[in-house]
Every structure is written in C-alpha cells, then in structure tokens.
Symmetry: C2
Subunit: 134 residues, 2 copies
Amino acid sequence: MQIGELARTTATKVETIRFYEKIGLLPEPGRTSGNYRDYGAAHLARLSFIRRARDLGFTLDQVRELLTLSDDSSRSCSAVDTVARAHLAQIDQKIADLRALRRELDELIGQCSQGAISDCRIIEALGPSAQNGH
Amino acid sequence: MQIGELARTTATKVETIRFYEKIGLLPEPGRTSGNYRDYGAAHLARLSFIRRARDLGFTLDQVRELLTLSDDSSRSCSAVDTVARAHLAQIDQKIADLRALRRELDELIGQCSQGAISDCRIIEALGPSAQNGH
DNA sequence: CTTGACCCTGTAGTTGCTATAGGGTGCATA
DNA sequence: TATGCACCCTATAGCAACTACAGGGTCAAG
Ligand SMILES: [Zn+2]
Ligand SMILES: [Zn+2]
Ligand SMILES: [Zn+2]
Ligand SMILES: [Zn+2]
C-alpha cells in the first residue's frame, strides 16, 4: 500500500503521515524499488489509533504514551486509565476557562451602546484603567 | 520607564513586549543614550489594552483590528461590536466542541474494566476497527 | 574596579501540522 | 518512442503567540 492510499483510508494528509514518521510516532515502512514507502496492515492499524486518539484531543505525547502502553499487552490498563483521566481533567479545565471568558465577553458586549467609539464601553473596558472588580 | 518596569506593571514578559514591537503591535519607543527603550504613558495604555484583549481570548489580529478601530474615535462602534460578537461565537463553538469530546472520552473511560491491556476497552476503542456508531 | 541587575540583538525552540520548491517514478496514450 | 499525468521523494519554511537562550553592552553601588 503506498502513502496516498493510506492517507485516503485514514483521512490523513500525506504530509502528516511523513511527519508522524519523522517524529518517530509511526515506524518507517519498507520501500519499493522506486523508493516509495510501502505500508502494511500494522501501519494502518497504528495510524488509525493515532488519528482516533488525536480526534479525542490527546496530545502527540499522550498518544505516544498510549501506544507504548498498548504495545505491552500483559500489563494492567490502569496506566491507560490514568492518561485518559488526566486528559479528561484538562478538557474540563479548558471548558471552565472558556465559560468564564464567555461570561466576561458577553457582559462587555451587553454594555455597548452602539454609539461613537469614544463612548464605547468595550473599548473603554479594554483600556488601561479598566479595573472591573473581577 | 524602561522595559522591565513596563513588564512588571502589565504582567507581561520583557520578551513579549519586544515581540509585540517587532510585529508592529506596539509602537517603537524612544531610546536612552545607552540604547535602552524608554516608554511613556501612551505605551503603557496600549500594552494594557493588548493584554486585556488577549486575556479575553482575542487573537493578535483581532487585537490589531480593535486597536485600529479605537484609534479612530469619531466612527461608530458597531465594527467593534462585530469583532467582539465574532469572537464570542468562536468561543461558543469551542465550548461545544470540547463538550462533545468530553462526552466521548467519558464514555470510553467508563468502559474500562481496569484489567489487562489486552482487554482494555479504551485501547480497543482507539484501534483500527473501532466503529462505535457516532 | 568589580559585581550584579538590568538592557540589547538575533536566533532557535515550542505544538501539530501544512505548504511550498525542485526534483524522480510509473503507467497510459498519441 | 515521446509525452503527459498522477503519484512519490527530500528538504525547508511557514502558521500562532510567544519563550528561551547566547553572547554581548550599560549603569549604579560598594
Ligand atoms: Zn464583568
Ligand atoms: Zn460600543
Ligand atoms: Zn460512544
Ligand atoms: Zn482499560
């Protein structure tokens, strides 16, 4: 299987596959006589894993860790659980941060009187002496 | 005022201030005889504006736009409102995306039986044949 | 006259790709 | 046989928004 087919199958850009190889996330495949990369089922499986984990928002470092863990099939999966729960906690934190941000911004927009810039509460609130007590 | 004091006053790293200058967000200040940057009240005001907008999650491009708008104090502030509302919509989108992700991940973690890796539903769900119907 | 805190420029690193530039390969067609 | 075209190769630079050096210069105190 050459890189283009692997790319189509996994909905990944060709450059991204080469990038994953370069950073050591995807093992180097064999080469054809014309120096084309030649992938097999194992590569497809590994790349699918990477893509799914990325879709779930894991960082490449976390993906690397999950791959290492999944390669050692004898050990307990509590380490996997730990990685996943840590990621969940990060997502929760991000959501909380964004919600706080949203509240701030919404409040600001609500104060805009649609007049001249010189009277705009949004601009004013962004200014240097804006201490709004939050 | 030299750069270190401006940095402390605005809770900004010195390097970040120089970076804002390099990308044209903060105007070049005058220099002392020893070639040190010398900032005044206008610089402080502008940097405060930038920091506050960044804290609210505006991109540097959006900050640039807001600064341009705020410099022309005669015009209507509806353009400001438009930028702010666009940003709010982006935040809402991000929150929705993160919530969907959170749901997925939470479901996955709930299925982990804490046994061997070979039985782990998390690892399994990340695998190539994982079509979970979402 | 030396120490130390501060400042300067310029460049490279971070994350996770994406997009060129400038070539080579492989197969079908005129 | 020549030529076109889709595909592949490497290497490098770019994106956001900083951050972190390296290798210097400046300035006040002791
Ligand atoms: Zn408020
Ligand atoms: Zn307004
Ligand atoms: Zn599900
Ligand atoms: Zn498990």
